[in-house]
């Protein structure tokens, strides 16, 4: 316990000596102040005494407390804590292990009556603790802002601390592994950022391919439904000699849809590629999805749709690859229905990915990486 306390105190002293630790704290403070200065009224969003009129973001559309929670989750958590503060935290903690392992420094620690494994894990835990402290300060301050300004005292907000800490630890374990292997702060930091980018790319690939896949499935289903409905209609119209024009139009449409159905049936590559990408993703930490858990816990599905405004359904159901297509109102009603349904199913599918899968596979990744780093550290001659 004495040694554990000493390592934690040393980690504090090390971070305290680094200006970046305090810069992150100050930036967090500034953001919380900006958060407190932001508000919502019946006309739109306010900042200090100014009001910006926003038709889809005012107290007639969104309750005040939901507005603050939404801002916290999307900007405070989703942007600052998971990107800005995360990068600053990585920069300020990346040197902990390389400095610890430097020649002349490591000998003293290894010569003490503490096992290498415990030394390694305590050092790791100490780094995480001080990053957690930063998140706690930000979350605590945000809790009071939401309480006083939004009138909602939401203890669930503090789930951001373990969530952000988990996300940081998924990346930090990689940084530690590279730190142990290379003993270089710059190299470990750069390689960690590269891995993070790789995770981002794999995640983007999964999301994009899933949207395409769902869109394709929905399209197939709706094609089949529409085709059978048209077949029934044509059969009924065939008995009526006065409906030649309508029969002709429906027959042409049926022919067109049948051709589309035939083409879509032949596309088996997409599911295979997506399955492969998903398998790779399963092995990697899910940084984005871990943060999105806060969305699930703090904001309901219905509230999320409400923040998106009246046309949200159409806009959210439109996959990114379809950007550039004509506005939904000018498109074929069949296509609009496919987009809407695909969007709904996509959201459901993402939300249906279990917490166990998101966190379990990510923690498993962390344990494996940490195990390799600890093994190297424990067996190496210094």
């Amino acid at each position: 316990m004495r040694q554990t306390a000493a390592i934690f105190l040393d980690a504090y002293r090390e971070l305290n000596a680094k200006k970046l630790f305090w810069i992150t704290m100050i930036l967090s403070g500034v953001l919380v102040l900006a958060f407190a200065a932001t508000g919502i009224n019946e006309r739109g969003v306010t900042f200090l005494h100014w009001t910006i009129e926003v038709p889809v973001m005012n107290t007639r559309v969104v309750p005040r407390e939901d507005f603050y929670k939404y801002v916290f989750v999307t900007l405070g958590l989703g942007t600052w804590l998971t990107w800005g503060a995360m990068i600053l935290a990585l920069i300020s903690t990346a040197s902990i292990f390389p400095d610890f392992l430097a020649g002349g420094a490591i000998e003293l620690s290894l010569s003490k009556p503490i096992s290498r494994l415990r030394l390694f894990l305590t050092k790791y835990a100490a780094a995480l603790t001080f990053v957690g402290l930063q998140v706690l300060v930000f979350t605590g301050a945000s809790f009071f802002v939401i309480g006083f300004r939004g009138g909602a005292w939401e203890p669930g907000l503090f789930l951001a601390v373990p969530v952000v800490l988990l996300v940081f630890s998924f990346l930090y374990c990689v940084c530690v592994l590279f730190g142990v292997v290379t003993r270089s702060t710059i190299a470990s930091l750069m390689l960690t950022l590269l891995v993070w980018f790789l995770i981002f790319i794999i995640n983007a690939g999964d999301v994009g391919l899933l949207q395409f896949r769902i869109h394709s499935d929905v399209r197939k289903e709706m094609l089949a439904t529409t085709i059978s409905r048209l077949e029934r209609d044509i059969e009924a119209l065939g008995e009526n000699p006065e409906s030649t024009e309508e029969l002709k139009a429906k027959t042409e449409r049926l022919e067109k849809l049948r051709n589309e159905q035939k083409e879509s049936k032949e596309n088996k590559t997409l599911p295979r590629v997506h399955t492969a990408v998903f398998a790779v993703k399963t092995l990697l930490p899910k940084t984005g999805e871990t943060v999105d858990l806060m969305n699930r816990w703090l904001i309901s599905e219905a509230n999320l749709e409400r923040f998106s405004g009246p046309s949200a359904e159409e806009e959210t159901s439109q996959p990114p690859a379809m950007a550039g297509r004509p506005p939904a109102s000018r498109r074929d009603p069949f296509e609009r229905n496919v987009d809407r349904e695909a969007g709904k199913r996509f959201q459901r599918e993402i939300r249906d990915r279990s917490v166990g899968w998101v966190l379990g596979t990510s923690i498993a990744f962390e344990l494996v990486i940490l195990g390799i780093a600890a093994g190297l550290f424990s067996r190496r001659d210094f």
Binding site: R2, Q3, A5, A6, I7, L9, D10, R13, E14, N16, A17, D99, A102, G103, G104, A105, I106, E107, L108, S109, L110, S111, K112, P113, I114, S115, R379, D381, F382
Partner: protein, 355 residues
């Protein structure tokens, strides 16, 4: 040195270390260090001194090791709580002050907070760093870092203290202070294991030494034990000005058989005489200086009598013991070629050492 393991601070048997399967840094080290003594480990660069120290301190894992330290197998972590260590080229975190260095490493050694608060000021006083207690280490000179390093090694009031080049970068006053600290530790019963290049320093404080050459122990024991066979007496006689052929005349006066030493290939050059006395002691005469290989003064008396009887004026008679440097140079010199052995570890020959 025949003592039981319980009487020994360090008892090493067949310690070897091979890096990457081909660099044999240590080749079967056998070494004993008694409790309460100051033991010096010396050897040329790359002889394996620091590797041996690091094995003791669990910084490096031995390829083979059957040793004990303070009665526990080498590598037994809890025992390290009774050991103080100052590594060579140590680097303390720059963000810590001298006082914080002592506190941190004291805590890591398992010393309670109360004890740390009590010991730190006293140790800082002992190493002359009291007024620098609250200054960050990054502002310290090399000598000051060494002093703080020695103090941190003493924070756990160790039974054994291992110091790797403790006087490196320390000025003469500092070296004297460190010597005094070592003597103070010895008087308290602490065993000191000293690794140093400064042979004169070691000679002044060490009870026993070991010389490591190319990963093997060349010799170990007290300096007296190691030099016993090489002790001699030197008799300096009054040589007349321009004394051509004086060595030959002296040789003719001495009892026993002496023959001329000649060197050179073309024109032979006489460099002295050597031989044995009637009583068996080796003897040499060189430029008016008579050297007798005898540790016992009584053995020299007949020779003095013989010289005096022949009217030779004796200016001085002195016992001579080889210095640690002489021993060291002998150890690192190839007896066949007379050349200094190459520094560094053995590359490839696993059992070719002299241990």
């Amino acid at each position: 040195m025949s003592t039981s393991t319980a009487d020994l601070a360090i008892d090493l048997r067949r310690v070897s270390k091979t890096y990457k399967g081909k660099v044999h840094a240590l080749r079967g080290i056998d070494m004993v260090v008694g409790r309460g003594e100051i033991f010096g480990l010396l050897g040329p660069n790359g002889a394996g001194k620091s590797t041996l120290v690091k094995i003791l301190m669990t910084v490096i894992r031995a390829t083979q090791c059957e040793g004990h330290m303070l009665g526990a197998p080498v590598g037994h972590k809890p025992t390290l709580g009774r050991v103080g260590y100052l590594p060579e080229h140590h680097r303390f975190p720059d963000y810590l002050t001298g006082g914080q260095v002592l506190d941190f490493f004291g805590a890591m050694a398992g010393v309670s907070r109360e004890e740390r608060r009590k010991r730190a000021p006293a140790l800082l006083e002992l190493v002359g760093m009291r007024e620098w207690e609250k200054t960050r280490v990054k502002g310290y000179s090399k000598g000051m870092r060494q002093r703080i390093g020695i103090a941190q090694a003493m924070m756990n009031n160790p039974d054994l203290i291992v110091l790797d080049e403790p006087t490196d970068g320390v000025d003469p006053v500092g070296r004297r202070d460190i010597r005094n600290v070592l003597m103070e530790l010895k008087s308290r019963g602490t065993t000191v294991f000293l690794n140093s290049h400064l042979l004169s320093e070691l000679e002044m404080v060490c009870d026993r030494v070991a010389i490591l050459v190319q990963g093997a122990v060349s010799s170990q024991g007290t300096i007296r034990e190691l030099t016993k066979d090489q002790e001699r007496y030197e008799i300096e006689i009054d040589v007349p000005e321009g004394g051509e052929g004086v060595d030959a005349r002296i040789a003719g006066l001495l009892p026993g058989s002496l023959r001329e030493d000649l060197s050179g290939t073309g024109l032979a050059t006489r460099i002295g005489f050597h031989g044995t006395l009637a009583t068996g002691e080796a003897l040499s005469v060189e430029r008016g200086l008579i050297k007798v290989s005898a540790a016992d003064a009584r053995r020299v008396q007949p020779l003095i009598d013989a010289l005096r009887a022949r009217g030779v004026v004796i200016r001085a008679v002195r016992p001579v013991r080889p210095s640690l440097e002489d021993l060291f140079m002998q150890a690192v010199t190839d007896p066949r070629t007379g050349e200094t052995l190459k520094p560094g570890a053995d590359m490839g020959k696993k059992n070719g050492g002299k241990a």
